[in-house]
């Protein structure tokens, strides 16, 4: 296989990491919604933590993006 083609395939596979981030974000916001609907009074208190978790979860997916960048341009 050509090296260039192999690099492209590798970068594409590295992008799969975003799938894990998607699952994580789905679980996070799903749980947040569940908690917020069960206890609507606590909703305003629960707003900050999901945002922090959102940033942390998204970052793990973006590590895959960095690997794709290293494969393509490194």
């Amino acid at each position: 296989m050509e090296l260039e083609a192999a690099k492209m395939i590798g970068a594409g596979i590295a992008a799969l990491a975003l799938g894990g981030a998607g699952i994580g974000l789905g679980t996070l916001f799903g749980s947040y919604m569940e908690g917020a609907f069960r206890n609507p009074e606590a909703q305003s208190k629960l707003k900050v933590n999901p945002m922090l978790a959102f940033a942390l979860i998204e970052a793990t997916g973006l590590f895959g993006f960095v690997i794709a960048m290293i494969i393509l341009f490194g």
Binding site: A55, L56, L62, F65
Partner: protein, 247 residues
């Protein structure tokens, strides 16, 4: 990599004033310029806001005090009263990263999308944390790597893992900020080329990606705020680990 139409061209560093310090390239670049501008803007914001400070804050002073109290509360909740000494560091870090992230969204080069900048910041944080740990606890700080309560036979596994997780901190801290910034700006760049490409193909088609750009931009503003917050909160958590040795 950096031809004019590439979505990565926006990250290109241009030398403004060449400077060579004994073989080390220390030129004044557009990134240095933006960093100086950010430091200047943050300083002006705080100094001008607190210039005629009153007990009941006005609008401008209220903005400055909002940021101050935000970081002060963050530090108090995560590090406890002993963390108060580190307020200037965490506050400057937060304001600098926030300024760089936001100014990058409005046309300037995004300084925090260069790993050399974010890694320097993260490395500074971890150095401070390690020095604080050793100053407070002496060689006892090494017990950080051997969690209390874990059974003895697990130690050969736990200690290497704890050491790796400690050493990986500057990397994860810097790559998190860097990757978020790069990914957002590349996404905006790619959408921009979609507008031009599809609009050239058929005029109305270009409107679809054009409509997506404000939404992505709003997301990027959120990410810029969140990543500065996450950097600050993780700094607080690492400081807490070093100050209050759990075992």
């Amino acid at each position: 990599m950096a031809d004019a139409h590439s979505p990565l061209a926006q990250f290109e560093i241009k030398t403004l004033m060449p400077l060579d310090l004994g073989g080390v390239d220390a030129s004044f670049t557009n990134a240095s310029l933006i960093m100086a501008v950010v430091v200047g803007l943050v300083t002006i914001f705080i100094v001008a806001g607190m210039n005629k400070a009153t007990i009941v804050p006005g609008r401008f002073q209220g903005m400055v005090e909002f940021f101050y109290e935000f970081i002060a509360n963050l530090l108090k909740e995560n590090t406890g009263p002993k963390g108060k000494a580190f307020f200037p560091m965490v506050f400057s870090l937060f304001m600098f990263i926030l300024g760089c992230n936001l100014i990058g969204l409005f046309g300037a080069i995004t300084v925090t999308s260069h790993i050399v900048v974010t890694f320097a910041l993260a490395f500074m944080v971890i150095t401070v944390v390690t020095v604080v740990g050793f100053v407070k606890h002496g060689t006892h700080y090494f017990s950080y790597f051997a969690p209390a309560g874990a059974p003895m036979w697990l130690m050969p596994l736990m200690i290497p893992l704890e050491i790796i997780s400690y050493l990986i901190r500057p990397i994860s801290l810097s790559v998190r900020l860097f990757a978020n910034m790069v990914a957002g700006h590349v996404m905006l760049g790619v959408l921009g080329t979609f507008v031009v490409g599809l609009g050239g193909l058929f005029f109305a088609l270009g409107a679809i990606p054009l409509a997506a750009i404000p939404l992505i931009f709003a997301l990027e503003v959120l990410v810029a705020l969140l990543q500065a917050y996450v950097f600050a909160i993780l700094t607080c958590i690492y400081l807490n680990d070093a100050i209050h040795l759990a075992h």
